[in-house]
Symmetry: D3
Subunit: 231 residues, 6 copies
């Protein structure tokens, strides 16, 4: 697999103007806000990145290049990559699969793949993925409320029949995979999806069922910058 | 009941600077965004306010004053009020109960009551309430990510033991009310809550179990302005 | 809102002959009964009214009149009112909403509203509401077993299509509110319900989702007299 | 097995004075009741006994004697027996198991066995068993509200620790049998139950998990007389 | 009931060549296997038969003959019978019902009844019944993978419409008995089942809902020989 | 990533003597079996491999070598690899992640990883994974019934505290990932697992939550040979 080539496109899924956005809150506007809530910890919300004490390993050359590209294009390294960086084979396998699923050519648009990611993560109530991929839906769609709807209840979004069928399949596959049968595939076909598209819907939904659980198991924290992106 | 007096405080629960916030997105930043998603409808997301065709009734004097105050302080009338405005007794009863629960003196702070509102609405996946009260949590806390955490999974928030116990009780009462027993009240008492506080936690959680269902039954749409408030 | 006027009708929802009924068991018939069960407490089942120690506040004039009317017409004050009487604004808001929903003119008969109350309370397994409103169904219908069917499993009742559709909607809204969509409203329309009727079905179902949780959170005990009413 | 001998005791589980009770509602009291509900069928609620058209077979001598004894002692033949009477081996096997479980000597009182029956049937929302065995709890306990509590939510009953442990085990075994483990048996032992008692709790709970499903599968209707017994 | 006559057929449900099969694993093949897992106990997996210390009672003549027949035909006494043998009336009632349901003439083949047994036991995750009746499906069908499919997910089996309808009904009746209504019986009728067949489907499914819970409540262990039968 | 090197170890997870096993059933023993069941299709159970018509792509050199090694060591190519072979980047990413998780050095034995795989697949009722990895548990443990217990209900297995804690965590993470918190990680630590071990438990469980859904979404069929392996 040519990981270097895939690296070039990963930034498409995150907010290019994230750093600029993060400066938008002025001290003045902050001053009129109420006192901070009664929180148990005073530190930043995303440190440490996980609840597991796993020291970062030396980055392999491919991964060092990948992290550098993230810094250059996004302004930060997504915390899921930092979390995996204690072990290079695991990080490389994760990055390869992620980039293939979310960025490679597909009958599903990148936005559609991110919509699946968020709708699945909503079923699983995964804080990390809802934050990170909710931001991606907001940015790719240019429609901030669409990101919120994917997080909150995709049924509340006014979607095309195609996208509704896609999310119905993805969330059924998430919540009750043992009930998925030919009739559900047939509903996708009737909505215009090819066999390859059905694989891609299934594969993206399945991947986030994996990622959601890695994140929940380790209390993985999303980079704080995501919260303000593309609002 | 002196509804007029209670009206004075309702604006505390919404964003006073909402209109200013809504202008923050410049045409330039909008231009770089991707094309809008493949949505089924072209109109605004919050018109009509509900899926039920119920013409607004003439506002009673008390309600006319209430709506005017909303416009003055918030810059808009929350859509839930518009939805109820087909019948004055229903609107007045709803407003009276809402204002008492969310704004009257209590051992729970206004922020805590809004946190309960959002955590309950998350269990019920209520789009309207998550949007409107998620904005309230962001504003009252001055902590945008706290609002997101209440929406996504309150367990991911780094809360004090007091607030965690409060939300554990509220969400159990939402998801499995039949299992609530003395041991759960005792956990609240151990976290420092009085009998009156326990009533208030229960009453706010219960109220949003009602509101969530009114909103879901009618496809009630939140005012679009909420999405960008206090980010 | 003219609470005084609404008070006149509240008695329609409870058994006018309750006190007479409570005397029907003669000492003789009681004597042949088996020994009482191995219960943990010896006192009456509905004292105290809740598990929260909240002393009753002085009744406002409106609420004093309301309680007096309950005593006159029903022979007792429903315990839910006693439970709320620690705080007049809360009691008044609850009574106003309850009376509007259950007693004001509607396309739903009072019996139908009570049927919704019980079917919803069955999903939530709320002891207080099943007892109090089960009695109301028995009385309003003149059909004791209909009350039992609403408590036990509304699907076992031989209902008209209209009433079945009404209860299907109300219980779905109770158990899985996030799944309610246009198709479910359409089923109500096909069963002959107007937009206003749909609101009322939703509002009654939603209200009891609130009341059920107040009752479960506080271990609210129904007046013992309900058990023998309209059998 | 000597079925004849066991037959002598079955009547202990039903109301000996049922027929007298059924006459208690006078035409006068019926007259003041509201109109009957909007039901889909006009006939009695318990005809036919099931939704399956299975003609009754000639009763075997043992079963003829058993039915005669029911008529003599109870005033009626319980509909579950009528439902099974299309096939003598099935009726005899059912009656033998039922009578052994509910009437044979045990560390559990007959009332306790009926309490299990109703609490289990509540989890399964079985109309037939809730009606028939709810009546048995009312009669055996002399406490009408205890029957209601078993039907509605056994957690609302003020039970001894022994009986609470018994019902916690029985309902867990009903709702999530795959989670029952040594710790749950140990809780019964700590509540004073012997190995034989644990078997009996399990066996009664298991039996009603069977009966509930036979009844639900066939829409079995309880004899109407149960509704008014021991109120 | 003529229990003796029924005894003659029980062996049809278990593997006649079980003992021969159990010898198939040669010392050579065992030698290449990995070390045994890190198990908590060193003894055989099916001793004791249950977690309840209930000494076996003297077998009644009928049951002594029954056990002898099991030994002769199967080579062993199924552990469920041993578990019940602490009390002759219970053992006899269980055996009578079991043999009638699983072996008496029916519109359902013996294989179909065993398929229901396993599909139901899969919903309830009952180790004992999945092992014992999974072996029966393998043997009666001559198709080892059919047994596995019934254990794992019956929807994965390529079944006739008749058998699929049968299992859909049986598993719905198991998981959500309160939802079974006329429409579900009608689906069975359309698949060719008679009223008597519907009873039999329901009765077998219901019986295993009972047996599953007896087994789970007591940690009943299947005879080890089942694992290797009919593979 | 050096895929070639990892390929060398993959065969450890499947049965080396599979082909020999598949020949064990003689025509004679098959002859005494009952007639085949009333199945809807006459063909082999694992053709086609999935319900999606996705033609196999030319194998990349690395994948060609990998498939050849499977043939050599296992006697067949696992169907999951065939299913992914329509697209080389997807196949390579899957193989890389699978081999790292299941075969790379870890504080978890290979058997423990397979036990997690099966216990997770049991929650998700995934036919493909239960068959393929159930066989792996049987082979790696030399204990056929352990494989069955992982498939049927891992709580029925007599496990060490370490392995029980491991599976409790993995199945909670599967069924209710949103509830996993520090207390659950702490239970693993108390059972002796390191931070790295916790990651591995989570990662294997998460991976099978992905694979289960790919398989269910596509009706992926396991190679028939698995059924008879290591019995």
């Amino acid at each position: 697999m040519k990981a270097g080539k895939r690296n070039k496109t990963i930034t498409a899924s995150v907010n290019r103007s994230g750093t600029a956005k993060s400066a938008k809150r002025t001290p003045a506007s902050a001053a009129v806000r109420a006192a901070p809530p009664d929180t148990a910890t005073a530190g930043p919300d995303d440190k440490p990145v996980t609840a597991l004490d796993l020291p970062q390993a030396p980055l392999s050359p491919a991964m060092a290049a990948y992290f550098a590209k993230c810094e250059e294009k996004l302004g930060f390294v997504p915390n899921v990559l930092t979390a995996y960086a204690f072990d290079m084979p695991k990080l490389e396998a994760f990055a390869a699969m992620y980039n293939d699923l979310m960025l490679a050519p597909s009958g599903l648009s990148k936005l559609e793949r991110e919509m699946i990611a968020v709708a699945v993560s909503s079923v699983n109530q995964c804080y990390y993925c809802l934050v990170a991929h909710g931001a991606a839906v907001r940015q790719l769609s240019g429609d901030p409320k669409l990101g919120e709807q994917m997080v909150m209840n995709y049924r509340a979004a006014r979607l095309s029949k195609r996208q509704r069928a896609m999310l119905d399949f993805a969330t059924r596959l998430t919540a009750e995979p043992w009930t998925v049968e030919e009739e559900h595939r047939e509903m996708l076909r009737k909505a215009g999806f090819s066999a390859r598209d059905i694989w891609d819907i299934a594969a993206v939904a399945a991947f986030f069922n994996m990622s959601n659980r890695i994140a929940s198991a380790t209390d993985m924290r999303p980079n704080e910058i995501y919260h303000s992106q593309a609002r």
